[in-house]
Symmetry: C2
Subunit: 139 residues, 2 copies
């Protein structure tokens, strides 16, 4: 009785299946390792209300430049309390510690720090772990 009707032998099929399984395992482990290494942080910033517009402009410029020119700067979400817009929270995601250490040495980050020096009243950094992310594909 012939079970396998394709040109590949039973052994070839088995070998192929094992290779596919190993590759799948390799890539999924790799994705998990990448996520485990990520540096994720919440920055809570209180800004001088009189300088809020200038601060927000500097912040947006820093975020956009860092994400577009640095491979390891992955995500920024900056939000302001509705009832107190000078209370700002930023969710930051970097690929790993090396990416973060390289980020704080860039000219655009140093320019941001210099610009906002007299605008920031307090800064609180909290290291966090991602529990999960769910979002629409276009978000």
């Amino acid at each position: 009785m012939k079970v396998f009707k394709t040109p590949l032998s039973r052994n070839s099929w088995l070998t192929l299946m094992v290779i596919i399984c190993m590759l799948t395992l390799f890539f999924s482990t790799n994705v998990m390792a990448q996520q485990r290494n990520q540096v994720v942080r919440l920055a809570k910033i209180q800004v001088d209300p009189a300088q809020l517009e200038k601060y927000n402009t500097a912040l947006k410029e820093q975020m956009t430049t860092a994400v577009s020119v640095e491979p390891g700067v992955l995500t920024y979400y900056a939000v302001a309390d509705k009832s107190n817009p000078s209370h700002i929270t930023i969710l930051e995601i970097y690929a790993d510690t090396a990416a973060y250490n390289s980020h704080i040495k860039t000219p655009h980050f140093k320019k941001y720090k210099d610009t906002v020096q007299g605008m920031v009243k307090s800064l609180e950094l909290t290291d966090v772990n991602l529990i999960g992310v769910a979002k629409k594909p276009d978000m």
Copy 2:
């Protein structure tokens, strides 16, 4: 002297430019209106440490289901303080108030609320505005 060397007349060019400007303005205004209507929120939750694993499972199930079945549920990022994993912050983005009101009536949201009722020690909701988002295309 002939300035415009294409088959279109000077007036046709002007009309075309005006139409392009109006379309650009229309679409960019539309995008801004969509973002202005978004409901963006930070939820700060303290969970009973003894029930943290069960809580995180219920939270992830709620987030994933809501984003996949509800058109107006756009984004969730859930993070836990590294130094105190039972302190959780969730960044939530809904398309508009109607989407949020519809969300809290869904079976999966009610199931989540019932499941975590005895696990949540405190819940603080802060309405926020997006200052900006910057992220890699694959994030």
